[in-house]
């Protein structure tokens, strides 16, 4: 492991080190400030090291560090940073908050490994590190029965799904003989039969589908989102899903040849079902966290539609969508976190009645994020939805587009319903929510500004997304992918 190889994987090392420091810190003297600081600084250093890696590729086939990986890693790190800041405010009033930051760092480490993985082993390891740390994070507020129930549900189902994923990988490996994702494409082209590969890929998709909460595997989402403490829900909704989306895109790109029409049809059904079910389930939800859970199912349906559109344009659309989705969901759950008191999270809709007149700043951030989720212009959500429809029209996925239009029309109802409740007259006896900690206030402000800035002037985001898409497209072997016509490798 030469010096520059070490530098190549420096972000992972920094994250690991930060987790250790935080852990040791707890053993010496439990201080919430120190742990939080360690976590935040660790993430910041990791982000910095991400750009100071130098040009050398990471050693061995396990990890791949192309622009695509860098973009998604940056996203994951910023999301974790935001969650850490939110958690510092949220946990200040709880007992024994320090362990959360360790778990958070480990989860982030797992996510980054997942994003960088170019090999089945690193894929599995990244996924499991992320999952295991999530189990305990979800059940962190031990006192409430709901979060414990949520965590055990998540554990059993996640474990089962990763087992399914593993079995799928085994079948694929059995057929193709290689575990390196990039080599799978050519191996597939040369492979004799497809008897094992197709079911293998199908099983892998199920494992990934669970993490992305696509329709047949979505049922855990509302319970976990409602049960878990608010910052952890934000983590689950953003980091876990974002990393897995990156992985799915990389796999889909590499395994393009294997995906016969059958798989595409299956994916189409899943996407359509996710969009419709997500929006329909959220229609008259009175619990804000469950509502956001269902809406995130629908949003992943839109992402899957974008992926199905195929070609580098699709990857660009997905990257734009994921970025916008991250910022929006972080803002939304940030508000929920800030409003949550020590006795329980602020998830009942009545608590948000007339919020605009009681807590104007916080309410406006939530309104902005809801509008972005609904895809109203001048918000990042609109640019994202526009990119997805753009990709869809380009590849002529008319049925999926029709479902997208119908489901987002349905979606408008419940987003607007919440907004209107927030603008309604404030009830007389409304519980006075805890003051907003300074750090969370600054974070929410930044998120809101980014949200509007991306909506008004999205060109830089589109640039970044295009660099990510083209870098991924460039590395794949020159195989005609069914996900779209042969695309020009150099833009």
């Amino acid at each position: 492991m030469s010096a520059d190889e070490l530098r190549a994987i420096s972000p992972l090392i920094v994250l690991g080190a930060a987790a250790l420091v935080a852990l040791l810190g707890i053993t010496i003297r439990r201080s919430h400030r120190f742990s939080a600081l360690a976590c935040v600084v660790g993430l910041a250093l990791a982000m910095a090291s991400l750009f100071l890696r130098g040009s050398a590729p990471p050693p061995g086939p396990l990890l791949v560090a192309d622009d695509f990986a860098v973009v998604y890693t940056a996203l994951v790190l910023t999301a974790s940073f935001a969650v850490a800041v939110l958690a510092s405010g949220y946990m200040a009033r709880r007992q024994r908050p320090e362990e959360l930051y360790v778990l958070l760092l480990v989860a982030t480490l797992g996510a980054v490994v997942l994003v960088w993985s170019g090999h089945l082993v690193s894929l599995f390891l990244g996924l499991e590190t992320l999952s295991v740390s999530l189990y305990s994070l979800i059940g962190y507020t031990r006192t409430g029965p709901r979060s414990v129930e949520a965590s055990i549900k998540y554990l059993i189902l996640a474990a089962a799904s990763s087992a399914i994923l593993l079995f799928g990988m085994a079948l694929v490996y059995a057929e193709l003989g290689t575990m390196v994702i990039i080599e799978m494409g050519p191996a597939l082209a040369v492979a004799s039969g497809r008897t094992l590969v197709v079911p293998g890929v199908a099983l892998m998709v199920t494992g990934i589908g669970f993490k992305l909460a696509l329709v047949p595997f979505h049922m855990w989402t509302p319970d976990v989102y409602e049960g878990a403490p608010a910052p952890v829900t934000a983590l689950v909704a953003t980091v876990s899903k974002g990393a897995v989306v990156a992985l799915f895109v990389r796999l889909a790109w590499a395994l393009g040849a294997a995906g016969q029409a059958a798989l595409l049809v299956a994916f189409g059904i899943v996407a359509a079902a996710s969009m419709l079910a997500g929006n329909l389930l959220a229609l008259r939800q009175d619990n804000l966290k469950r509502l956001l859970a269902y809406s995130s199912i629908a949003h992943l349906g839109y992402v899957l539609t974008a992926i199905l559109a195929g070609g580098p344009g699709a990857i660009e659309a997905v990257s734009i969508y994921v970025t916008a989705y991250f910022v929006t969901i972080l803002a939304a759950f940030g508000v929920v976190t800030v409003l949550s008191g020590p006795d329980g999270d602020a998830d009942r809709l009545e608590e948000y009645q007339g919020l605009v007149w009681r807590r104007p700043f916080v309410a406006m951030v939530l309104v902005l994020s809801l509008l972005s989720l609904a895809g109203i212009p001048l918000t990042a959500g609109f640019i994202a939805k526009f990119a997805v429809i753009f990709a869809g029209v380009r590849s002529g996925l008319w049925t999926l587009l029709a479902v997208l239009v119908i489901s987002s029309a349905i979606g408008l109802y419940y987003y607007l319903r919440v907004v209107v409740v927030m603008f309604a007259a404030a009830p007389a006896a409304s519980a006075v929510a805890p003051p907003v900690p300074q750090s969370s206030r600054v974070l929410l402000l930044c998120l809101a500004l980014i949200l509007v800035w991306l909506g008004v002037y999205p060109v830089p985001l589109q640039g970044i997304a295009w660099t990510a898409a083209s870098s991924l497209a460039r590395e794949s072997p020159p195989v005609t992918t069914p996900l779209g016509p042969a695309t020009a490798r150099r833009p």
Partner: protein
């Protein structure tokens, strides 16, 4: 360059009004709109002198999203200039009319009102289809908030219904816009959303019809073509006075403007084939709106349904294609804006004083409020299409223009004039004449402010009725340009 300033100024004015106190916000809103009108003024004077070559009175082109071929392209010709002036005038009337009515959170109220007006101004100026769609969606949210926060009894339901209807239509339009862009891209290899370049894109008939229908659906929801109109009565009834004025006077016109600007010129063949269906829809709208207006007991719902009837004329005129019919549609748009805006202000004043909108609890108000009676009578007569008012000129031109295209529809539309008489006179009778339903309540007449607003609307209608030539001259070059693209449809 003024165009950009007008939209920005309106939004800035709104933001300033939000921060200002209750009294200040009104004056700020009024000042901004007046300033906009001053900015637009010279354009109006420069109207006939547009140099032959240039089609646009004023134009602003800025890069925005080069990768997607999206740019900020604002431009106005005669047609959009007229509608912009109408927007500003009705905006001022709305602000003045709700001087006393809005008591809580007036700052935020004026912010929303200015945001809606900015959105509408943007719609009339945008030439880049993406930008057009952005402004199209932008004007919905503040309008929905106006209804939801300051509305009457069932305001939440009405606000959400209004929002859903238009958004769904908008989404379908977005897919059509993208479809159009890709068809253009496939044909010329250039990805752009710029209207001048997209016009005249050759495309197979089936695709053209499909895309045209997407556009038509989006606009038909806004310009309420009959089956898609059911959001209108709820939204108008529950909206505050200023909301109703802006909703009826302006938002409905964005649909008609969209048809004239985008649907017809970009898809000439499909529009020509679709014209009979659209004209029939228009005529059904006229009759259906009139019959329903006649049957209402709630005053605001009655006036709302008259809008459906009047806008039916506009739809008939647009698709009857030909100088006379389309200019009739433009005049009808302006006249309807003033007459229905005025009626809503009057109804708002009545609701403020009597606390009710139901006709059964009104009657015999002439004795106590003669000024309100006279102005109400004039506006009702205008809406039934009495000559010497703008509505008559609009309707007659539409009918004259549409007669050669289809005599039967024109006959039915003319017969609807009788229904218009029925509902207008019923409105006047049940509010001002007959016995007093509630003798106890004392009703003081219109204040100087309200009288000034209504007199302004009435005078505007009379000028439009007796001397509409300046309006026709402004609209003619714009419609002429659209028509050359849409081809000589109407047989002379």
């Amino acid at each position: 360059m003024i165009l950009g300033w007008i939209v920005v100024l309106t939004l800035a004015g709104g933001a300033l009004a939000w921060s200002g106190g209750r009294r200040a916000s009104r004056w700020i809103a009024l000042g901004t709109l007046a300033l906009d009108l001053v900015l637009v003024g010279p354009l109006f004077l420069r109207r006939p002198a547009t140099p032959a070559g240039r089609r646009w009175l004023a134009e602003l082109v800025l890069p925005w999203m080069p990768r997607y071929g999206v740019g900020i392209h604002l431009a106005i010709d005669g047609l959009s200039l007229l509608l912009i002036v109408l927007t500003l005038v009705l905006g001022i009337l709305a602000v003045v009319a709700s001087w006393r009515e809005i008591t809580q959170r007036t700052g935020f109220f004026h912010f929303n009102l200015m945001a809606v007006l900015a959105g509408i101004l943007g719609v009339f100026m945008a030439l880049d289809l993406f930008l057009f769609y952005l402004f199209w969606e932008l004007m919905l949210l503040p309008m929905a908030l106006l209804i939801a926060i300051w509305g009457h009894e069932r305001r939440t339901r009405a606000a959400i219904k209004f929002f859903l209807f238009t958004q769904a239509g908008g989404l379908v339009m977005l897919v059509s816009i993208l479809g159009l862009a890709f068809v253009h891209h496939a044909d010329t290899g250039v990805l752009t959303f710029d209207y001048p370049e997209l016009v005249g894109t050759p495309m197979p008939a089936a695709v053209e019809m499909l895309l045209m229908l997407g556009f038509f659906l989006g606009f038909a929801v806004k310009l309420p073509a009959v089956p898609l109109h059911t959001w209108l009565p709820d939204a108008h009834t529950e909206a505050p006075t200023a909301g109703s004025v802006v909703l009826a006077g302006l938002l409905l016109k964005t649909g008609a403007y969209g048809l004239l600007r985008f649907a017809l010129p970009i898809f000439p063949e499909a529009s020509r084939a679709f014209a009979p269906v659209a004209m029939t829809l228009g005529t059904i709208g006229i009759v259906y709106g009139a019959v329903l207006a006649w049957a209402q007991t709630d005053l605001k719902r009655l006036v709302a349904y008259t809008s459906v009837s009047h806008l039916g004329f506009v739809l008939l005129g647009i698709y009857a294609a030909g100088t006379v019919a389309q200019e009739g549609a433009v005049v009808q748009m302006l006249a309807h804006g003033l007459s229905t805006g005025g009626l809503f202000i009057l109804v708002g004043a009545l609701q403020e004083r009597l606390g009710t909108r139901s006709l059964d609890r009104m009657g015999g108000l002439w004795a106590m409020a003669p000024r309100m009676g006279v102005l109400g009578m004039m506006l009702a007569l205008a809406s039934l299409g009495l000559p010497a008012f703008g509505n008559f000129v609009g309707e007659i031109l539409v009918l004259v223009g549409s007669y050669p295209r289809s005599p039967e529809l024109t006959a039915v539309a003319t017969a609807a004039m009788v229904l218009a008489t029925a509902y207008s006179l019923r409105l006047v009778q049940r509010t001002f004449f007959g016995a007093r339903a509630e003798p106890a309540s004392v009703l003081q007449d219109l204040s100087a402010r309200e009288t000034a607003v209504l007199v302004a609307a009435a005078l505007g209608l009379i000028c439009l009725g007796l001397y509409p030539q300046p309006v026709l001259d402004t609209a003619e070059p714009a419609l002429g340009a659209l028509r050359t693209v849409f081809g000589q449809v109407a047989r002379r």
